[in-house]
Symmetry: C2
Subunit: 497 residues, 2 copies
């Protein structure tokens, strides 16, 4: 056996100065120049040829490749993406990133601390624990609350439903357990429930009101019926920030029912919970603090890079009850009264990087005052955009602006159309075409969704980097595209007079 001459071989350990220079140049370009110069397209989806090329480039070779080639390959690969942080990406829930999050994550990368246990990472564990308690307080939860940073909403929802299952149900009750959700409840709640061992059929969908919120009367009725049928209601899944419309369930009404019926109230606030840090709109989330558990993703609306999700539980001992990974239960139950925290006893993961530190970095640097303004900014932008569309011709508003999001569609006059046409279908096609053209021309990326069967456009305008003037220009461009689509549609389909 001979030793590797590791310190003399730059491919194995420390890179040469000029290699570091390459990375530093890239880093500098990203932080100081427009990120757009590296990824000019808002939406850049790999073609079949791109894909084949990347597959070839992925298979590891026997020998190492030069650093500059690997870097340039990686930049090319990563550029096939949706620039979720782009101020004009309005689809999904965008990720408008504060630069401080990049910096915080790079320092996190450099230290590479395992934050599963106190032993491995007592520094970041302390900060995450304190930050979690502070966030719980902002959400209105009591001082008994605790939680853990996870990768995102799906993991947060899974962690919460497992905790609820273990706190509320005897083992033999599980097959008869019932969960209440609405059509607007995020698909990840269903996913969490199936991972936790429930069937989809155990999720009962409650009727919604005209704002898509769970109807309290229907919920009460359904609970009564289910109990009568020998089922075991145990969990209500409310939402603070529907992905489709930005709407919020009546959280106080849900909390009242949960209290009366002795059910667990989980609120999926992955998107919307951040509103509690706003200056002018905290009230939107009224009732949030009455939840038994809460999902909240800083990588959605607290301007963090992936991954940065959070699950909070009203009484942190319930987390220990479900996720304690030590042999001895007593020691860990005690732990919650001391300064130390082993996060692997509060959540699913054992290996975990210090996801919360980039948020800490951002909050320290930016300050609460400005964070609040940045959140409010997005809410005002959506209201401004809704108003602007209302004043333009042929645009219909399907859901009014809520939490920086609204839904709308273009409906051209259809009196002279070929009567054999399905008007609803035409409308759908026209709006799909508007979205597609806006993306293709890199003007903006509003995406489509369906509300009450109608395909419509949806804008989530939460970027603090987007000015009202820029948004106004985007809306004018979208209106022009709509006219263009309309003209081309009429040319094809108008009833010949």
């Amino acid at each position: 056996m001979t030793d590797l001459n590791v310190y003399q071989d730059d491919s194995v350990t420390l890179p040469k100065a000029d290699h570091v220079q390459l990375i530093e140049d890239l880093f500098h370009q990203f932080l100081l120049a427009q990120k757009a110069t590296l990824s000019p397209q808002i939406v850049d989806i790999a073609t079949k040829e791109d894909t084949a090329q990347m597959r070839d480039a992925t298979i590891p070779k026997a020998d190492g490749m030069p650093m500059d080639q690997v870097i340039s390959d990686m930049v090319k690969i990563m550029s096939h993406r949706v620039a979720m942080e782009h101020p004009k990406f309005f689809g999904l829930i965008p990720s408008p990133i504060n630069e401080n999050s990049y910096l915080g994550n790079i320092i996190t990368t450099m230290f590479n601390v395992g934050t599963g246990s106190w032993y491995q990472g007592s520094g970041p564990s302390t900060v995450e624990d304190t930050l979690i308690k502070w966030m719980a307080e902002q959400a209105g939860l009591p001082s008994s609350a605790g939680g853990v940073f996870v990768s995102g909403g799906t993991m947060a929802n899974l962690t919460a439903v497992v905790t609820a299952r273990d706190a509320m149900l005897q083992f033999d009750q599980r097959p008869k357990a019932v969960i209440y959700a609405s059509k607007e409840t995020h698909v990840s709640v269903t996913k969490g429930l199936t991972v936790a061992g429930f069937l989809r059929s155990q999720i009962h969908r409650v009727e919604s009101d005209s704002d898509f919120r769970i109807d309290p009367q229907s919920l009460r009725r359904q609970i009564a019926i289910d109990r009568k049928n020998g089922l075991v209601p145990f969990l209500i899944a409310g939402s603070c920030g529907f992905t489709n419309t930005g709407g919020i369930d009546d959280l106080n009404a849900l909390a009242d029912i949960a209290q009366e019926e002795n059910l667990w109230l989980h609120v999926d606030g992955a998107y919307g919970a951040s509103v509690v840090l706003s200056k002018d709109h905290k009230g939107c989330a009224d009732g949030l603090g009455r939840a038994n558990s809460l999902s909240w993703d800083p990588h959605k609306w607290l301007f963090q890079i992936y991954d940065c999700g959070l699950v909070l539980v009203r009484d942190k001992r319930h987390l220990v009850q479900s996720f304690n990974t030590e042999a001895s239960y007593i020691r860990d139950a005690e732990e919650v009264n001391t300064d130390t925290v082993n996060f692997w006893n509060r959540g699913i993961e054992m290996s975990r990087s210090a996801r919360g530190l980039k948020l800490w970095f951002t909050l320290q640097r930016v300050g609460l005052e400005k964070m609040g303004e940045m959140i409010d900014h997005g809410i005002y932008l959506a209201e401004f955009a809704e108003q602007t569309f209302r004043e333009l011709e042929n645009w219909e508003i399907l859901s009014t602006a809520s939490l920086g999001m609204f839904n709308f569609r273009y409906i051209p006059p259809m009196e002279n159309l070929d009567p054999s046409l399905d008007v609803e279908k035409c409308c759908d096609d026209i709006n799909a075409a508007i979205s597609r053209l806006a993306v293709e021309r890199n003007i903006a990326a509003p995406m489509t969704t369906r509300l009450r069967k109608a395909l419509n456009l949806r804008m989530c305008t939460i970027s603090p980097e987007l000015s009202r003037e820029q948004l106004f220009e985007v809306i004018q461009s979208i209106d022009l595209i709509a006219k263009e689509v309309e003209a081309s549609f009429l040319k094809e389909h108008v009833f010949k007079l």
Copy 2:
């Protein structure tokens, strides 16, 4: 409503050049200088005072703080950690990190691509998918295999057991289902099973042989008894790399039984699966390719930073069956035959960063040949250390070197001791003291574990940066500490003649 002057306010968006300079300096220091200059201690656990200070510094303020202060606070916080990448940290499973992993993760950070769906990140999705297929092939799995990058072994084991549950059991069989594991099976397998809805009592512990491996005869007997009692055996959890000793279950024997009995064989190779990329020791993992599912953490033994875990499943359609998150099942079943991949249909998470790209970066840069040597290096080091201890006086080897790990303890002559003493207890105390002193003096961090009740020292020597000469010096220092502890012990406890 007034717009935020975001581009003029450096705390909100783009940092000033001198702020970037601060980060770049830190980055440079990390990559080119010894990382030890920032974290001189191998083990640095926060004191009560440190903790109180950090808690104070965590609460967000109304106004932002200067960049240099936030950076220096963060460096201080992160320094309270175990330097898991330090060549002389031998505890847990160390994380000796290849520098290329840092660089790959910094580029990943800069692009911040969501890799849950093809739409969001077609570039990194393609590379991760191709890399996963290649890794499956290296492990001996067939071309039907697929998987997903996760945060670590616990998530990999959870993903695998949910997949096994859904593939093997009817819903009403779940309460009678039985899982087979041994005492050496990692605690995260238990955790995954309880999250997936099983009780701890459904995990039957099988007897082990003298090398701590599951005894095939006992397993066969237990399956027969369980079937006779109306239970439903469905899963065998084998291990490739026991955390305690580096041992490996007889994977071929387990695969034979799984095949005969129609059970699912999951192998937790979070630590040890990487041996299939070694040059000289691939054979250790014989039978690995017969598993139905496999956990494999590149952040353990492929020199990656957190987080970088992987779960592989023999037939990737089973993943889609359990984790598909779309409304329409057909579309996603079809997907597995095309170029596109939506990873949120292959695993639990929807939000997910491109964890696999830093591994891709490392493999491209280093090349397979050298990666193989780096893995072999750790295996040879442990063999060398075992041999060295064998040649020193009063040291006992409790488990021979396997996968870069071995167990040993110091047993001084005890003839003249006070006869009222518990010799075993004395031995435990002596070895605990040796470990404690080595850590306190920052000589090295061998940690303690128990094998057949005896407390012993355990070294995992997988750092490619550690030379044989350095290891020899460490062993000599540990031997000196042992003599010191022995002398102080004898002084107190020797029987007065």
